[in-house]
Amino acid sequence: MSELAMHEMDVLRSQLAERAAAEGLIDVSYRLVDSPVGQLMLAATERGIVRVAFTAEDFDAVLGTLAQKVGVRVLHRAAPLDAAAAQLDEYFAHSRTGFELSLDHRLSSGYRLEVQLALPKIGYGHTVSYKEMAALTGRPAAVRAVGTACATNPLPILVPCHRVLRSDGSLGGYLGGLEAKKVLLDLEHDPGTRGD
């Protein structure tokens, strides 16, 4: 496709997204943002941010899951995610320690949701063990379930599952890969010195 034709298609697609939004026809809007942990995909419903995905997850596969679980009318549209993109930028630049965004938790339910709702209680720069997290939710025996809840967190970074570690201090797992988890923990432990 020629550059002109590609430009024409881009214009048509963004006009389509605007008209669709004006008519309330979008179930999920999404956009990509660059970050120190690689490119991220942010997705939102009219209720709030519903998904943050890492490159390793395969964005098209994530769009497919959103189509299945939320609605098939998924379109690229940046505007509903501008605030989230700006706050993530600030977070990675050490000028923000918490997020003020509406979140849509519809992709989680049951105990997983309970754990994910409790995760923001772990403050910026702090970590807890899976065991402590289980105790924090009033189910001290549910250590494995806490692990699952963290591993399936649909809103990583915004909901800080990266602050949960193994009891021996080792990293445990992370949806975005251990390297990403390490970057986030280093960033939060060493505020202000990584602003490059």
């Binding site: 048509l12 008209r19 959103l66 609605g71």
Partner: protein, 159 residues
């Protein structure tokens, strides 16, 4: 498959071929762009009720054809007797009657003509979508055009 793909992927996969079809029918520029936008907006409205696993490309082509005809009707209320005698599709794309008579052909004829003449695929590429072989598809297209020509002459004789 329990649901159809995210609409974004539909736009990504088929956006260019639908624009090519609209451009073939309406010429490059605002009319083709309007037809494209109306096509995808209508498709987006109807998408949640489209059966899972449906042939999305065929569905979009049908919508695009209707949108193109709407725009042709609005722009060119062409009287019957102004239609040219010889039928060569690319020259006929400005004329409603040919688009309407496409619908009367067999599914295979319509698809081969649409893919070849409206979407610009060489015959060699079409078996990938429709099966068969290039020679049989070329014959199907020729038969279809002959049938349309027949209809066109009938219409002229009746008027």
């Amino acid at each position: 498959m329990t649901t159809n793909p995210a609409f974004e992927l539909v736009v990504r996969r088929h956006g260019t071929s639908v624009l090519r079809m609209c451009t073939a029918l309406l010429g490059p520029g605002p009319d083709a762009q309007d037809a494209w936008s109306e096509t995808f907006l209508a498709a987006l409205r109807a998408y949640p009720s489209l059966a899972a696993g449906a042939n999305i490309e065929a569905w979009l082509i049908t919508i695009a054809r209707h949108k193109a005809i709407d725009i042709l009707r609005a722009n060119h209320p062409v009287p019957m007797d102004e239609l040219p005698d010889s039928v060569v599709l690319p020259e006929l794309t400005g004329h409603l009657e040919m688009l309407d008579s496409l619908a009367s052909l067999s599914e295979l004829q319509r698809k081969v003509i649409g893919y070849h003449y409206l979407l610009g695929f060489p015959y060699a590429d079409i078996p990938a979508f429709l099966g068969g072989n290039p020679a049989s598809l070329r014959r199907a297209a020729a038969d279809g055009i002959k049938a349309m020509r027949g209809q066109h002459h009938e219409a002229e004789e009746e008027s």
